[in-house]
């Protein structure tokens, strides 16, 4: 891990607590430009908590810099304006509104001409959304909702896309689709911070990985090295295969 000047997101010594219970303890992480970084770990390890705190949904003690700017005290909306975007675990779509409205709102803070180009890019990435653009978001299947959530996030042309469990509750064939799209994103210059329980798929697509257990990182390094680590293979990868088909 080399948090050089090229680091897009840099979190140093982050503590996050729910009341008196510390869910994340002294965690440091960085994501460079054009990099896919994944955080893997079991349920309840604190992965979602960490992402939410980086986005500003939860208060965090420690340093968070993004694109050279200290964002630790900014409101969610200001972090979005800085180019940070989160696709949360529950997706938080506008259910009573159409797909196209959801996407247009994703480009709320950028100029109209740019939003039109974004829309075309997102429709090219997810042709299924274009077919159903008049349909209400609430009527979509789980996989389509995940595509819409990612599409809405990409509409705002973020520098860093944070994905929280994009594969959760989806059929394996759709999971493969989602991960392929994540791989394509890097080509278009978007960095990705991916939180996953599906460790096998995540490690396959990521450049680097952090392994989280009980609120701390127990291991980090290039994704291939992490995947090859005996401890990880035993406790996550064997496990993850069952989970990918089981959940």
């Amino acid at each position: 891990m080399n948090p050089g000047p090229s680091a897009l997101l840099q979190v140093t010594g982050a503590h996050i607590a729910y009341g008196k219970v510390e869910a994340v303890r002294g965690v440091s992480l960085d994501v460079a430009e054009n990099e896919i970084v994944t955080i893997i770990g079991a349920n309840g390890a604190g992965k979602t908590t960490l992402l939410n705190a980086v986005m500003g949904i939860l208060p965090l003690k420690g340093r968070v810099t993004f694109a050279g700017q200290d964002i630790a005290r900014l409101e969610i909306e200001d972090r979005v304006a800085a180019g940070l975007c989160l696709v949360p675990e529950h997706r938080e779509l506008f259910g009573a509104m159409s797909i196209e409205d959801n996407l247009q709102l994703g480009a709320f803070r950028i100029a109209k001409a740019e939003a039109a180009r974004s829309l075309e890019r997102v429709y090219a990435l997810f042709p299924r959304l274009k077919e159903r653009r008049r349909q209400l978001a609430a009527t979509l299947s789980g996989g389509e909702q995940q595509m819409l959530a990612m599409g809405r996030a990409l509409m705002g042309a973020p520098k860093l896309l944070m994905l929280d469990e994009p594969s959760l509750g989806l059929a394996p064939i759709i999971v493969a689709d989602i991960f392929r799209t994540i791989g394509e994103l890097r080509a278009s210059g978007v960095s990705v911070l991916l939180v996953e329980q599906n460790a096998q798929a995540a490690l396959q697509f990521a450049n680097r990985a952090y392994v989280m257990e009980l609120g701390e990182f127990i291991l980090d390094g290039p994704a291939k090295a992490v995947a090859a680590d005996a401890r990880i293979a035993a406790s996550y990868l064997g496990f993850a295969q069952n989970e990918a088909s089981g959940i």
Binding site: M55, I57, R73, I76, E77, V80, A81, C85, L86, P88, E92, L93, F94, G95, A96, M97, D101, Q104, L105, G106, F108, R109, R152, A153, M155, G156
Partner: protein, 344 residues
């Protein structure tokens, strides 16, 4: 039969006003979770500001807007103290200080010098609109994340404060304002005044305008998005504080329009608005505080029930109207399972 028609006509006229107020209540609740008790004060302020201007005097509400703007400016500075920059400062100064000051200056210079109804209406709407905007900034924005109950209590507080100011500005005597039009049509056996036609036309136009705004503009969609999913809205960069301000601005302007529409046909006192607002509230409750079309239909029903009961049992007029809520609440509680309050 003729009496029935008269009563129905009366009911629809009142119902149109209640529909506007009910829609504003639903809008504000959906976007901010605030049950807007001071909606009635917007009606009173709009009506009496217009009446005062028409009699050639400067209404105290114009000064109230300036005072509230100064407080709002202070709050903006305090909230942005960590990251003060010129653009933010300039924007806050323009909206909170320059805007109400300009309206006050315009009001003072125009009051008594001209008798154009349109000018007086425009001034009244801008005065009450800025008061609504600042009311959200001062009283609700700092506590926007708290529970519906806390917001309701703050809302009751705002109602009492604004009503008190109303007594100071307008006195205890009632006022009437000039009608928009003196025309009269007769469609046997009914008689339509220009004012009642104006009420129908403005109601329909406002509802159509709101429909266009929410259906086709990005700002309108952002407001709906805030209502549908607050966190989702924040995650795409919609400032919920701004959504709240826009919702209050719309509600206060709608309230003021309603007041200006009725002040030529009813004498309004500083506290009359509350009761009128409550009837809009009955309609909004029947619509479940979520449905715009149901609210509009319910408002026409409330207006008609009021008209019929004031004819057949005038002593019990208000009792009958407000009793409408009980069977509706009973039915709703049976039909829908109890909804737990959302966490955020």
């Amino acid at each position: 039969m003729t009496i029935m028609l008269f009563l129905l006509q009366d009911g629809i006229t009142n119902g149109a006003i209640y529909a506007l107020l009910g829609l504003a209540l639903v809008l504000v609740f959906a976007v901010t979770r605030v049950i807007l008790i001071p909606q009635g004060e917007f009606v009173t302020y709009g009506a009496l500001t217009y009446a005062t201007l028409s009699s050639g005097q400067v209404p105290g509400t114009a000064r109230l807007a300036v005072a509230m703007g100064i407080v709002a400016f202070g709050l903006d500075l305090f909230a942005g103290r960590r990251s003060l920059h010129a653009a933010l400062l300039g924007r806050a100064f323009a909206i909170n200080i320059l805007l109400p000051a300009a309206i006050l200056a315009l009001t003072t210079s125009l009051a008594g010098r001209q008798h154009l109804i349109a000018v007086n209406i425009a001034l009244s709407l801008s005065i009450v609109g800025t008061i609504g905007l600042f009311l959200y900034r001062i009283a609700f924005q700092p506590i926007a994340h708290t529970s519906v109950l806390v917001l309701l209590i703050a809302s009751v507080g705002c109602h009492l404060a604004l009503q008190g100011f109303g007594l100071v500005f307008f006195g205890a005597e009632g006022q009437r304002g000039p009608a928009l039009s003196d025309a009269v049509f007769t469609v046997d056996p009914l008689r339509f005044t220009g004012q009642s036609i104006a009420i129908y036309a403005v109601t329909v136009a406002l509802i159509a305008g709101l429909w266009l705004f929410f259906g086709f503009t990005l700002t309108g969609k952002a407001l709906r998005a805030t209502a549908v999913n607050r966190l989702g809205a924040r995650l795409v960069g919609i400032r919920t504080a701004l959504s709240g301000q826009i919702a209050f601005l719309l509600a206060s302007v709608i309230g003021a329009v309603s007041g200006i529409l009725i002040v030529p046909i009813t004498t309004l006192y500083y506290d009359t608005g509350f009761l009128i607002g409550l009837k809009g509230f009955v309609a909004a409750i029947i619509g479940g505080l979520v449905s715009y079309p149901l609210t509009a239909i319910a408002a026409l029903l409330v207006g008609s029930v009021e008209a019929f009961s004031s004819f057949y049992a005038s002593n019990f007029k208000e009792v009958i109207v407000f009793t409408l809520i009980i069977p509706v609440l009973l039915l709703r509680s049976l039909a829908a399972p109890a909804v737990e309050e959302e966490k955020d």
